[in-house]
């Protein structure tokens, strides 16, 4: 057989390197092809084509070149295949991102392309989200609605329709889910396992799933419901469906439900449903009194902190006794020798003195200032600080705390949710762009009345790639300024994430500790330590 060589030039056409390498390999594998190369037409690449026997090609650096050498019919077939494959691929991005998948222009196209698709993630402006959700439901898809600002009557309509179709709706305003091991929205890299979570709280779910992972267990599914699902109007449609789905799931041995306090009637219906199941359920309705719902029974276990609910779920999964929630106990009680919170604090101090006894505040330093990016972390912190006797102001106050008049200026004890609309109008959430958190932390630290600055760092998909370089700078600056003014500052924080997250939790924790911050194991622990440090 006589070999021939041919090439095609696609002017001003870019594809990313992985796509081009895959295309080169696909062509080279064809019967009758001796060699094939798909490259940009740079001078060096054209030299290489010539050296490889692929001939002289007259192309420019912005042109894509497909060159093949082989039997005549095989060469024609290879060039046709290249044409087809290139037509299927959208242009890649500008060298700083990832390969664009083939663009689908409708949900229907996606279902037609692969009928096995059974979940649609909808992220469009709130005004359009309901219409898109209904389209997806009509195609037989379960739905996750990332969008917020969806009117409540539309949420009710979507969820009622989904119930009729026997489908699940996560959201609206559902920022976190892990479905079949796939993190959606803001979620962390956790191992798969036997604990399922249904939550109306994004960072609450992240805290629980991460803690379960850190304790050596894993997550079967984590289903978000959106923040309004447990309102009296909506009636926990999504939480109940998620609860039943997990109860029927063979891979799930324990279920955790998490939410800020639901409407009382709704809470009762959820708890009643949980008591009917064969699978043990841990319920964490932050701020709600378990006694009001009948307390623990063999199948239903109440927890009052996010970390405590993860601890309880892990113990149940292992058939072990449930550990005491020390964070809760410490809000009002005395520390005990060997207490893990004290041990953590001591771990920061070479002299063996607990961190919260070591920092010597100036007389004017009296206040706790919390700058939190997780809404549920802010909520839980306020509850634990209240239990420890600290009445704080907040832009999202819990019962007993006061609303901050000017969210730009803290007063007395202040615990802020920087992810709240008051701070995020027209700008990204601080979990995505933490610069506003760092600025506010610096401002709080500069206040001569501040004693303890409490913060959180949220890792995982969706969160900032580098969430702490700015934070470390801010802490460094704040400490230097305070020192010049004769003040001592305590920085207490926690890192919600795992070592498998792209940002690597251990590395983040190490850098924060290197900067002199006390890094607690979880949000509840950080809140208690911070509250106890207040003089």
């Amino acid at each position: 057989m006589i070999s021939i060589r041919e090439h095609r030039i696609y002017p001003n056409r870019y594809q990313d390197s992985v796509a081009l390498m895959a295309l080169s390999a696909a062509l080279a594998k064809l019967p009758g092809i001796q060699t094939a190369s798909v490259v940009m037409g740079t001078g060096t690449n054209l030299d290489n084509l010539r050296e490889a026997g692929l001939g002289e090609v007259d192309a420019g650096p912005g042109d894509l070149v497909v060159a093949v050498l082989g039997e005549e019919q095989a060469v024609a077939r290879a060039l046709e295949l290249a044409e087809e494959l290139l037509a299927e691929q959208s242009p890649g991005d500008a060298g700083t991102g990832t390969v664009a998948a083939r663009q689908l222009r409708s949900l229907r196209q996606a279902v037609e392309e692969n009928p096995a698709h059974n979940l649609a993630l909808i992220s469009v402006p709130g005004a359009y989200a309901a219409a898109e959700a209904l389209k997806a439901l009509r195609l037989g898809l379960n739905v996750m609605i990332f969008s917020d600002n969806v009117p409540l009557d539309q949420e009710i309509e979507i969820k009622r329709f989904a119930e009729e179709q026997d489908l699940l709706v996560m959201g609206p305003d559902c920022g976190t889910a892990i479905v079949n091991g796939l993190p959606l929205g803001f979620a962390n890299v956790v191992r798969r396992g036997r604990i399922g979570v249904v939550g109306a709280s994004g960072t609450g779910m992240q805290e629980i799933t991460c803690r379960v992972h850190q304790l050596g267990e894993g997550i079967s599914q984590a289903l978000g419901t959106g923040g309004h699902d447990l309102s009296a109007q909506v009636g926990a449609v999504s939480m109940l469906r998620g609860l039943r789905a997990l109860a029927a799931d063979e891979a799930t041995d324990v279920i955790v439900l998490v939410s800020k306090p639901p409407a009382e009637t709704v809470a009762k219906s959820v708890i009643e449903e949980a008591r009917t199941l064969d699978v043990p359920v841990v319920i964490c309705f932050l701020g709600a009194d378990p006694a009001a719902f009948g307390g623990d029974t063999p199948g239903v276990h109440f927890a009052t902190t996010l970390a405590g609910s993860a601890d309880a779920a892990v113990a149940l999964a292992r058939g072990e006794a449930r550990p005491e929630d020390r964070a809760v106990a410490l809000t009002g009680g005395e520390t005990q020798p060997g207490d893990p919170v004290v041990a953590l604090a001591q771990g920061q101090d070479r002299a063996g003195e607990p961190y919260f006894d070591r920092v010597r505040f100036a007389p004017a330093q009296r206040y706790l200032r919390g700058v939190l990016t997780g809404g549920t972390f802010c909520y839980e912190t306020q509850l634990l600080a209240r239990a420890a006797g600290i009445q704080a102001a907040s832009n999202t106050p819990v019962a007993g705390n006061s609303a901050l008049g000017d969210v730009g200026t803290s007063t007395g004890h202040t615990i802020l949710d920087l992810g709240d609309d008051a701070f995020t109008q027209g700008r990204p959430h601080p979990m995505i762009d933490p610069a506003p958190r760092d600025e506010r932390l610096l401002a709080e630290a500069d206040d001569p009345a501040t004693a303890v600055v409490l913060f959180d760092v949220v890792l995982g998909y969706g969160a900032a790639d580098d969430p702490i370089s700015g934070l470390l700078d801010a802490i460094g600056q704040a400490k230097a300024r305070a020192e010049r003014e004769g003040r001592a500052l305590a920085f207490v924080g926690h890192v919600c994430g795992t070592d498998d997250d792209p940002q690597d939790r251990s590395a983040v924790v190490a850098r924060l500790r290197e900067a002199g911050a006390l890094v607690a194991e979880n949000n509840a622990q950080a809140a208690v330590i911070a509250a106890r440090m207040i003089p």
Binding site: V39, A94, G95, T96, A100, D433, D465
Partner: protein
Amino acid sequence: MVAVSKGYLVPGPDFAGNVHSVFATACNLAVDGRLLTVHDAASPHTPTSVRVTGWRPRAQAGDPARCVAGVLSFGEHVLDLRALPVWTPPSPAPSVIVDVEDAEDAEEVARIREQYVEAEGIVVPGLTERAESLLEALVGRAESLPGALVGRAGSPSGVLAGRAGSPSGEPGRRDVSEAVARLVGFGPGLTPSGDDLLVGVLAVLSRGGGGAAFHTLASVVRRHAGRTTDVGAHYLRLAAGGHFGEPIVNLVDALVTGAGRAAVPARTKAALRVGASSGADGVAGVLLGLRALGSCPDRKAA
């Protein structure tokens, strides 16, 4: 869609240009001989990027781009660049501590990169040989300029501060030029692998105190930059001016200063995630640069 931050070389408040190229998650604007990249905030900063949220390009190549009083418009987009946080890399370390732990860090980086390259299937045949030729040329040049590259630990006047002799080694320069010519534009992709590797090498030499070697390599790279794609040439010219993207700066700084050592694995992973294979090629360049600085064990860089 909102602009959330910009790189320190983004011009303003008034300029004009046109849309150079449009991709799924980014647009390049040609402005005064440079490319300004508007891209999704999920990607890290470059010196010339504007990061935006909710990004869906609605523009065509050739469309005019105009920035008036800090408000940038092109295609269907209007972006307010006023009062944006500006990403600026920290100043390069004044000195470099080269010790055993540095070598261990480099080993760790190489290990993570190897795993990544294997998992992603992005080995570029021929890159290693070309990279090694560059190293030989750089070290050969250094040997003709005592103190520029061959000094090892404890030699602050050589490697560490980069106070090399005058750039008079023409044979070395010719070798470097030949090696660079074989790398620029080499490999598949929008920014060919050879370009990305050179950026990594330049980053180490620039920020790690390889003064004379950096200037030699930078001048050669500038001369050859026209042989690659527009986007590749843009990043090469930036690198030759000592300007690099955020992930590579973070990684190099951790490696050459020894500070933030615990962050090296995370920073390596962040650098690897850049582009399709650009990150892996850039990290290969960093490892090569470390070897040129004499702070990395003898390991194939690419």
